[in-house]
Amino acid sequence: MNNLASLLERLRLIFHEGTGLLTDPAMLRTFECDGLAHHRVIPAVVVLPTTAEQVEQTISICHDLGVPFVARGNGTGLSAGALPVAEGVVISLSRFRRIIEIDAPNMRAVVEPGVINLDLTKASVGDDLYYAPDPSSQQVCSIGGNVAENSGGAHCLKYGFTTHHITGLEVVTPDGELISLGAGKCVDAPGYDLLGAFIGSEGTLGVATKITTKLLKRPELVKTLIAAFDSTTSAGAAVSAIIASGILPAAVEMMDALAIEAAENAVHCGYPEGANTVLIVELDGPEGEVLAGMERVEAFCRECGAGELRIAADDEERALIWKGRKSAFAAIGTLSPDFIVQDGVIPRTSLPQVLAEIAELSRTSGIRVANVFHAGDGNLHPLVLFDERIAGDLETANAVSGAIIDLCIKYGGSITGEHGVGADKVSYMGKMFTEADLDTMQMVRCAFDVDNLSNPGKIFPTPRLCGEVPGRHHGVHPLVLSGEAELF
């Protein structure tokens, strides 16, 4: 009996064919990619577990048979992090999605991995709480996926990323063991911070089956300002002035002329007319702090040459400002038939130089680049526009997109700020890190996944052979066994 046949035979004991277990080629094909659709691989099998036991059993079977597996949330990732393996199993967690508990007194929630990010906030509204990380895809992305990617969002400047908001995980390790990492609803579990290592490991260290998150109190007041500038440089100066003054905005977003045009086309967001660059600054917190802070932000913007400047008068106006920003990616479709969304980070103060270099790249290549970014933390999302129907355009666009990432590395930044490395940016890892750096990271992987079965092919350009490690212990520590040490 070949491997696939025995795999299926054993999976059939856990799942019902056609509902929890998919083998029909057309059905399998719907799982061939995530949000980054040009990376495609059809998996051998898809399972849709609804319990931790099913995940555990599935991974145990994979472990026994040496079959690779890839966990997938709602398939919205932008780095091909959930790209299947051809001979492997996709573990789709999209129906493993109960909100188990909203624990308002302890400011915690316990959820299953398939729960949609925004649904957690919706479920917490009654207690006047919310879940802070808000990726632009929050209405659809799953919290399990957020854990894998350590997702950020527009408001992570002030509130941090997923890793700052998860206190406990139940995970199935790549050898099929159900364990808990972190401290549940508490903090600081004694021992290594495996929770911190797991979050952002892009599914390569196992599969989370239960997630304990922090919930935050909704701020007393939120104020959003939009200001027009004649250049990204003057807008950048305003950002520097604001941040240097000690104000920590909840979000600072910048869009250039091309991005503004796209957003206006798509959602008529009413941004200041004729603006070369717009800056969106949001402050939240106690009323006294926000009002006093906003006065200063306004003054800094004016000093740096802001033209039209508006503070949203109500929630509706505020929502419209954000609608323009959050729809910018999809709206680029109104300007260009095809585009690449890039994700890179630079030290914020290098913004003027990097933007000048991007403009130069665009000029010499003839490829248009629209810029949307989280200006507060230097996270760039250049949108590289091209037309696949024009011969050579795709290649040039790819080259420009790659050159932008090289710029990020050159200026001391990162190849990804929130989308992850996935399969897409594997080849850039060697540019950002040394062999030794990558080797050290893979030591963690070897501790979790000796056989390299959990989401192989992601993050690392070449897998490390874990081999037999001298001094490796399983079970009870020999010192404890020998009575030389004791566990109280």
Binding site: A104, G152, G160, F161, H164, T173, L181, A183, K185, C186, D188, A189, P190, G191, Y192, D193, L194, G196, A197, K217, P219, E220, S240, I243, A244, S245, G246, I247, L248, G285, P286, G288, E289, V290, A292, V345, I346, D377, G378, S414, I415, T416, E418, V421, M432, T434, A436, D437, L438, T440, M441, M443, V444, I459, G471, H474, A485, E486, L487, F488
Partner: protein, 396 residues
């Protein structure tokens, strides 16, 4: 830097290495690991009474002699500093540009390397996060002498594994941290410490009101000896001068209390209580049960206990110096009762620091989940188990 380690927990290192550069450190580690020497990494020796006593130490590697470098990118609110820099030195340097690392100086003159290795939890964690949350990049030398880096100098960065998290709180058992990249904050325009006495029977509503308040304090601490039925609550509000008084008034309204205010911290604020210190974690809202339980334990055993809880974080430090004077059996019983209480409230209790006898007789960390996986991590980084063998959880 202090003079080299004479003894650690009663053991005398046979040799001391004092590398003066990262390259020297690499060579030292490479050679020592090649010959299978048992090693101990040390900074300024401020936490030698933390963790389990190491099994044996052949060579103490003094990292305090490594060059002190601070590279402050003020406009990016990021700093790079070498591990031998002390927190006080760093704060002094940062303050010249109106910034700070939002970490409390709980133990004077400890190095950044030591801070990362032990990850103590202080009051500012409530408003700004713990060390793990502010550490954005780290350079470290593995036991085989390999220099490695993870993270970087930008705050937002998800490329590769976050090894900084793994090194944080690892008690020097994985690698020698040589440099850190830290996220900074601006010094606040104004700070007010609001203090009031709270009867322990009234803690429930106070905790609920504080944790669900929109006033956004930077820290909320509860402190006092457990003998009395009243503790001191102190709240730090920081921010713009215009906003602070409004927020104070808001908090007083929400709590129905009126505070004494001061621009300087209470003397107990930035410290860990006692010289034998326990760290108890608990679910945030269970503080009243914790305090009541601890009160009963202290009363039953007639031991003086100083409590300091970071409300809203769920970390409680207990200074129980009497533990060191009890018989080991009684001390064990007290610890057992505290552990049982902490476990019932969702958390755990560890001995943070204590005389060696206590830490030898009982496991400071207690039983912990995922230990096997931790051993596997250790085995990858330090296959011969040379770095501080036995000092960490489960004898790692």
């Amino acid at each position: 830097m202090p003079s080299p380690i004479a003894t650690i927990d009663g053991a005398t290192p046979r040799a001391t290495a004092t590398p003066s550069s990262v390259d020297e450190l690499r060579t030292t580690l490479q050679e020592a690991s090649h010959s299978g020497k048992q090693l101990l990494l040390a900074g300024h020796h401020t936490k030698m009474d933390w963790g389990r006593p190491p099994e044996s130490v052949d060579v103490a590697i003094e990292l305090g002699a490594l060059p002190c470098e601070i590279e402050h990118w003020a406009d990016d609110l990021v700093v790079r500093a070498t591990a031998s820099v002390t927190l006080e030195e760093l704060q002094r340097e940062l303050s010249t540009r109106g910034q700070r690392l939002c970490v409390d100086t709980l133990i004077p003159s400890s190095t950044l390397g030591g801070l990362v290795a032990t990850a103590p939890s202080g009051p500012l964690r409530y408003g700004y996060g713990a060390i793990r949350d502010l550490l954005i990049g780290v350079g470290a030398v593995r036991v085989d002498g390999t220099l490695t880096r993870s993270g970087g100098r930008v705050v937002k960065n998800v490329a590769g594994y976050d090894l900084a998290k793994l090194y944080t709180g690892s008690y020097g058992t994985l690698a020698a941290v040589t440099e850190v990249f830290l996220r900074l904050h601006a010094l606040p325009e104004e700070s007010q410490y609001l203090t009031v006495a709270v009867p322990i029977d009234n803690l429930g509503p106070v905790v609920a009101a504080l944790t669900h308040s929109t006033v956004a304090p930077s820290a909320i601490e509860l402190h006092g000896p457990l003998g009395e039925r009243t503790l001191t609550l102190s709240v730090l509000i920081e921010g713009l001068a215009k906003g602070v008084p409004i927020r104070q008034a808001g908090l007083e309204r929400a709590l129905g209390l009126s505070f004494a205010t001061s621009t300087s911290a209470p003397d107990w604020w930035s410290s860990l209580p006692g010289s034998t210190t326990l760290k108890v974690t608990h679910e945030v809202a269970s503080l009243p049960q914790l305090v009541q339980g601890l009160y009963e334990i202290a009363d039953r055993h007639q031991i003086h206990t100083e409590l300091k809880d970071s409300i809203g974080i769920g970390v409680c430090h207990l200074g129980i110096d009497a533990l060191a004077t009890l018989t080991l059996e009684s001390a064990g019983q007290v610890l057992g009762e505290i552990r049982m209480l902490a476990t019932a409230l969702g958390g755990s209790a560890i001995i943070l620091r204590a005389p060696v006898a206590l830490r030898t007789a009982m496991d400071p960390f207690g039983s912990i989940p995922a230990l096997d996986l931790m051993r596997r991590v250790k085995a990858q980084f330090d296959p011969q188990q040379l770095l501080a063998r036995g000092r960490f959880v489960g004898g790692i």
